[in-house]
Symmetry: C2
Subunit: 534 residues, 2 copies
């Protein structure tokens, strides 16, 4: 498309050549996709967990990109491999995030909702700020390349987005504790939304720079975006539920129409939010949850099967493609490797920041949880370890090259690239070993959690004894605010419990053809497990 507009000077056989180049480019992409799928399948079959599918895809992209770089591929073909953030955000990300919401096991997710929201929102905020401050301090002391404070915070925000794809696939494969899975899953999905909101807000702060009401504005704007996007997503989801309940499309020869409409709704939700200047991924995530919960059961049986398979297929294609695309772009792009120090220290810093995120949030969550439901230390460690960075961080970093002045953006981009490659390959490859070391491989719903926390004394110790007192000193002085937190969080838990009642008594009967009283909550989602993981 671009070339056609840019070079109208030579219109002769140009369109045909363009199209041939496009053909070769896309052909190469399809071949890499097929290779990734086949390789991933073979590796999985031989239970070789050191190279998960995502890592394999990234490697394939890197290798083919490297070869294309050496062999001087024509620029018209190369153009097909440049990672376009817009393409990523508009076409690759929506199906991935929607599938996350759609394949959600609602029970463990909602029973851990408080914890997940704490990790994703408060935790990501902490991680971003900690990373930003550390990078700024290191820069101020001339340890690494110096960036302005706002740009450090932007870097902190974008690098705090953890990737949901790789680790989760291993978790699914090995079958880990349901609650741990829900935590890792929920956190990595929601924190993408948080990170992108934070990044955009910081970017806005940077361009306006009215330093007075900065922090307040950031918080307000973020809450505005988050609540607005969530409402838009939930609203679209409920609309779709009502449509499929009353339109009478669940007869056999209208299956195609039914599926077409069902498939368009998530995308509608994403674009509605984006069009309103809100966050598309928060919106589509909640549309996914609501559509699975309510609209899905209003479909005909055939369409239900089809829709599950369709979203699964599209999201697998998008996921695999993202890693290939990223690998290829990394191999092709110009990097400024002069700032090795920056890369080294930022890896260190994100480790620290993630620790600050996970352990402080887990501490807060454990404050309010009853003894048998505390997050055990080994789950916290698993959570800390599973924070690898993926396509979201990469796409935001690529955007920062456009957003920030020459040099700054490049440094951030190179550092992010290095972090993505290292974490995907190293953490992705070692997650299996880690899970086994931490002995969290297994499948019981409550037993592992109960087993660990039963012989631990109430709140405080359960945290201190395991972690060697990280932040314990501050806790003593903050006990009153800690108590206030406790109460707030308890209230929140009560509200989620009453939400379950609300759902069973009002929402389900109103939005679905099923009668909420008749079937147990579990039965309604009986097939979510089948369609989702396992």
């Amino acid at each position: 498309m671009e070339e056609l507009r840019i070079s109208p000077a030579d219109p002769r056989g140009s369109p045909a050549k363009e199209q041939q180049a496009a053909g070769v480019g896309i052909l190469l992409q399809i071949m890499m996709l097929v290779l990734s799928f086949v390789l991933g399948h073979v590796l999985r079959r031989h239970r070789f967990y050191y190279l998960p599918e995502a890592s394999a895809s990234l490697l394939i992209g890197l290798i083919v990109g490297g070869l294309a770089n050496i062999s001087n591929t024509e620029t018209s073909i190369r153009a097909w491999f440049n990672f376009h953030e817009e393409f990523f955000f508009l076409f690759l990300l929506p199906p991935i995030i929607f599938q996350s919401g759609f394949s959600l096991q609602p029970k463990p997710f909602f029973s851990n909702f408080g914890a997940i929201v704490t990790f994703a929102i408060f935790g990501t905020f902490v991680a971003s700020v900690v990373t930003g401050i550390l990078v700024y301090l290191a820069g101020a002391t001339y340890l690494i390349y110096k960036l302005p404070f706002v740009e450090c915070l932007m870097f902190g925000a974008l690098i705090s987005a953890t990737d949901p794809v790789t680790v989760l696939s291993i978790f699914q494969e090995l079958g880990t504790d349901v609650n741990l899975y829900a935590l890792v899953f929920g956190e990595s999905v929601l924190n993408d939304a948080m990170a992108i909101s934070l990044y955009r807000t910081m970017s806005l702060v940077r361009s306006h720079m009215s330093s007075g009401e900065n922090f307040f504005m950031v918080v307000v704007r973020f809450l505005e975006t988050f609540v607005g996007s969530m409402s838009a997503g939930v609203g679209v989801g409920f609309t779709s539920a009502l449509l499929f309940k009353y339109a009478g499309l669940d007869i056999d020869n209208l299956q195609n129409l039914e599926c077409c409409l069902f498939v368009l709704f998530p995308y509608f939700s994403y674009m509605l939010a984006e069009g309103l200047g809100l966050s598309g991924i928060v919106s589509i995530l909640f549309t996914g949850i609501v559509m699975k919960h309510y609209s899905f059961s209003n479909l005909s049986d055939n369409s239900q099967k089809f829709a599950s398979a369709f979203f699964h297929l599209i999201s697998s294609l998008a996921e695999t493609f993202v890693f290939i695309y990223m690998g290829f772009d990394i191999a092709m792009e110009q990097h400024s490797w002069s700032h090795i120090g920056f890369i080294f220290f930022s890896i260190l810093f994100i480790g620290i920041a993630r620790a600050a995120n996970v352990f402080s949030c887990a501490y807060l969550v454990n404050l309010v949880r009853p003894a048998h439901r505390k997050i055990p230390m080994k789950h916290q460690k698993a959570l800390w370890y599973s924070g690898l960075r993926g396509a979201m961080a990469f796409a935001l970093a690529l955007q920062s090259v456009h957003d920030l002045p020459e040099g700054h953006g490049q440094t951030i981009f190179t550092a992010t690239t290095a972090i993505v490659v290292l974490t995907v390959l190293l953490i992705g490859g070692s997650t299996g070993t880690m899970l086994e070391k931490l002995q969290v491989v297994g499948d019981g719903l409550d037993s592992p959690l109960g087993e660990v926390s039963q012989h631990l004394p109430p709140p405080l110790l359960s945290f201190d004894s395991n972690n060697g007192g990280y932040r314990a000193p501050t806790y003593e002085g903050e006990s009153s605010s800690g108590n206030r937190f406790k109460m707030k969080l308890k209230e929140f838990r009560n509200s989620t419990a009453s939400f379950t009642d609300l759902d069973r008594n009002y929402l389900t009967p109103f939005f679905t053809t099923q009668n909420g009283e008749e079937d147990e909550h579990d039965e309604l989602f009986g097939d979510s497990r089948r369609a989702g993981y396992h």
Copy 2:
């Protein structure tokens, strides 16, 4: 994507704004899609055949585009509605054409294969040349805007591509004769491929202009392209059949992998052909036929259901979107309405050219067909009438704006636009009435054909008596060449008969898990009818 690259001067909040504009643009597109589907459904339900779904989509696009034009929509949003030929050729066309091949009823298609190929290849060639010559003559006599002869032939080629979508949906709805359906279907699909090949060849001739070996070169190049593309398509199809036969992916938990690979093959075929400089649509059409015939039965049951529904869904989305997209672009684009004469005469000329195509080819076909299998006059008339022009003509015309000098391309584009809108709305709307008038509404396989042709004398008269002797005079003088034709065509028919044997005895057992001997040919395709139309 483009804007990001083109305006790096103001990188501040630009990406976010770009994305918002994209959101609004895509949101609007989704809303129009949903509206089209719903409107199409309602119209179909009320048996209102004057506004088929395609016409409705085109109208929706035209209206919304007109409104957007009046209301001065921002250019960043408008950019999302410009019809990009590349987007059309690379992403919208492949699923439509693949689905055509995939939903093919092989029996009527192959039993009419000779006739279809005659109409599509020889007929389209005749139609293009006739249109080109008429336009050139009218130009030379200053009746209309004068174009060079090669450009007239280019116009003839692009305007000879008939649209498979609209008429076929009405045919399916009303349930017409199977053979007529096969003819219209086969011709409209294959002639797209022919028209695009002819257009490109003419475009090449134009840019090289070595007028000496022109005609010979055209024929050789066309045959090269056609045979090459067909072989590529068939080759990819057979490869996929063998893969799915031996890879052992038809177990339950690999359904997603199986579907991913199955879905990638058609696109692979398209891009392979394009990458080799061949015709992607010929290739993907044959891949569709082969994959349905051989690979499909190697899939697991669930994947079979899924794949049928998936391709149906994707192609419906693409089809509907094409008409919306076209409507919107027509409303937004600059047209040179100064050449009303050109438009008027070209409509006249394509009517004549289509008559030359249909009636001469039907005559040839009837020469070799036995008495009970002749193409009756009313089928010929239906075939003549159903030649409406759609997205392929539009996309090629848009390309001609780039290919041809200022003014020439514009004139062709405007004329094509007018022809597309008029034929889609008028012919599309009146096809139902026409079919009823011609009394070809019904569902028997052989009865209507038999009924009509039984009381007609052998070859010659069956043509003359109905058509009032069009081209009859020339026939007398050409009887020897006519006889040679007869023999050639008879040979061809024999070869298709022996192909059926080849298929049953060797291809089916080799490429599928089924045993060709055991099950009747019909049984193998039992579900093609279910998955396809009706």
